[in-house]
């Protein structure tokens, strides 16, 4: 199975963002984390691609998940 590219768009104090990251770490999934509170380029990318103003937003290759949805993450990551 080839590894999927996983990007997490998050803010520092957001509890659901931390849950997403912990879930990925517990499942040994490598991911890139973008702090959209500070990284305005990442914020724009997140908003333009997802049409959402909400964190966490997760890109798994071209699929977009908004919020911490463990079942959906498992499905999209093939866990």
């Amino acid at each position: 199975m080839s590894a999927k590219e996983v990007k997490v768009y998050s803010t520092p104090e957001c509890p659901w963002c931390r849950r997403v990251k912990k879930f990925l770490e517990d499942n040994a999934i490598a991911y890139q984390d973008f702090n959209v509170a500070e990284d305005s380029a990442a914020r724009e990318e997140m908003i333009s691609k997802s049409q959402q103003l909400a964190v966490p937003t997760i890109f798994i290759d071209d699929e977009i998940i908004v919020g911490f949805n463990e079942a959906l993450l498992k499905e999209k990551l093939g866990l």
């Binding site: 803010t11 509890p15 931390r18 959402q52 103003l53 909400a54 964190v55 966490p56 463990e70 498992k74």
Partner: protein, 302 residues
């Protein structure tokens, strides 16, 4: 048929799970998520044993404790229906599964109350948010509105005056939050307060562009140009499952006696979804323990 199904994975549900497992009750824990409302709380200073702990971290500790026991868990399944059978109950989940048990504990907590105004649902995640702590930083430098007059709204306003260009705080009533938070809000130079105003609509095509508010006294309407709307008007109980089975009070909470019994034999409820006074983590955990022990007694009598 299993012995017990616990619906909900917050403090009440997880505590009930540990107590049930220790009684070796054949239990299934079903929940949409793990942690519940404390996940959205920053710091907790009144859960005994911890002088300070973040809500998220406390719920991780709860979760680790649940995992110490051989207990069946299905997380990520939202229970959508509960019905009575001859010898127990059946629950159905949003992914089409159904499970049966002799007893059920409902510990489904509460969720943010929506405003129920035009535009709200359509613009959810597009400027309308119910999690200021999560999404606040996305509105840096913009004008935003915070709706509500209680502690959550005042705290959200206090956070947002540091991030946003301007904050409008709109409350249907005079402030109901703590004086210390009201004073802090009044000190901010980039905050405008509209008390006794109702939100009429949220406007915008693909993103929030503004809100319409109405002065309850004069009836005068105003439009405010904002990019974000933070809705902090309290919580409603996730008690839909119990409708038609147990009694709900006027707030929609499940009525229980001091033994967490709903009045329907074998149907128990615990935590914030019930009419037990004081919505606190320590109270919910205690109620969860009681519900599991009462369910154990009930199952033994069968």
């Amino acid at each position: 048929m299993r012995e017990l199904i616990i619906v909900g994975g917050g403090p009440a549900g997880m505590t009930a799970a540990v107590y049930a497992a220790r009684k070796r009750i054949d239990t299934l824990l079903l929940s949409k998520d793990i942690g519940g409302q404390p996940n959205l709380t920053a710091g907790i200073e009144n859960y005994m044993g911890y002088q300070y702990i973040e809500g998220f971290e406390l719920m991780q500790k709860f979760e680790e404790q649940v995992r110490q026991f051989p207990l069946e868990q299905r997380i990520g399944q939202d229970v959508t229906a509960l019905s009575r059978l001859d010898a127990g109950f059946e629950v159905r989940t949003d992914n089409g599964e159904s499970y049966q048990a002799k007893a059920v504990i409902i510990a489904t907590g509460k969720r943010p109350r929506p405003l129920n105004v035009p535009g709200e649902e359509r613009l959810r995640g597009r400027g309308v948010t119910y999690c200021a702590i999560c999404d606040g930083p996305l509105f840096a430098g913009e004008k935003v509105a915070v709706i509500g007059g209680g502690n959550s709204a005042l705290e959200a306003a206090d956070d947002m005056v540091k991030i946003a260009e301007h904050v409008y705080l709109v409350s249907l009533t005079p402030f109901t939050g703590d004086q210390i938070l009201i004073d802090r809000a009044k000190d901010a130079s980039n905050l405008t307060v509209f008390l006794e105003h109702e939100v009429v609509a949220i406007a915008g095509s693909s993103r929030v562009e503004g809100i319409a508010i109405r002065d309850l006294k004069s009836g005068e309407e105003k439009s405010l140009e904002v990019g974000g709307v933070f809705i902090e008007i309290g919580l409603i109980p996730n008690s839909e499952l119990a409708k038609g089975l147990a009694n709900l009070n006027r707030l929609g909470e499940i009525e229980v006696n001091c033994a967490c019994e709903s009045g329907v034999p074998g149907l128990f409820a615990a935590g914030d979804v019930t009419d037990v006074p004081e919505k606190q983590i320590v109270v919910a955990a205690g109620e969860g323990a009681k519900a599991a022990l009462q369910a154990h007694k009930y199952l033994q009598r069968l």
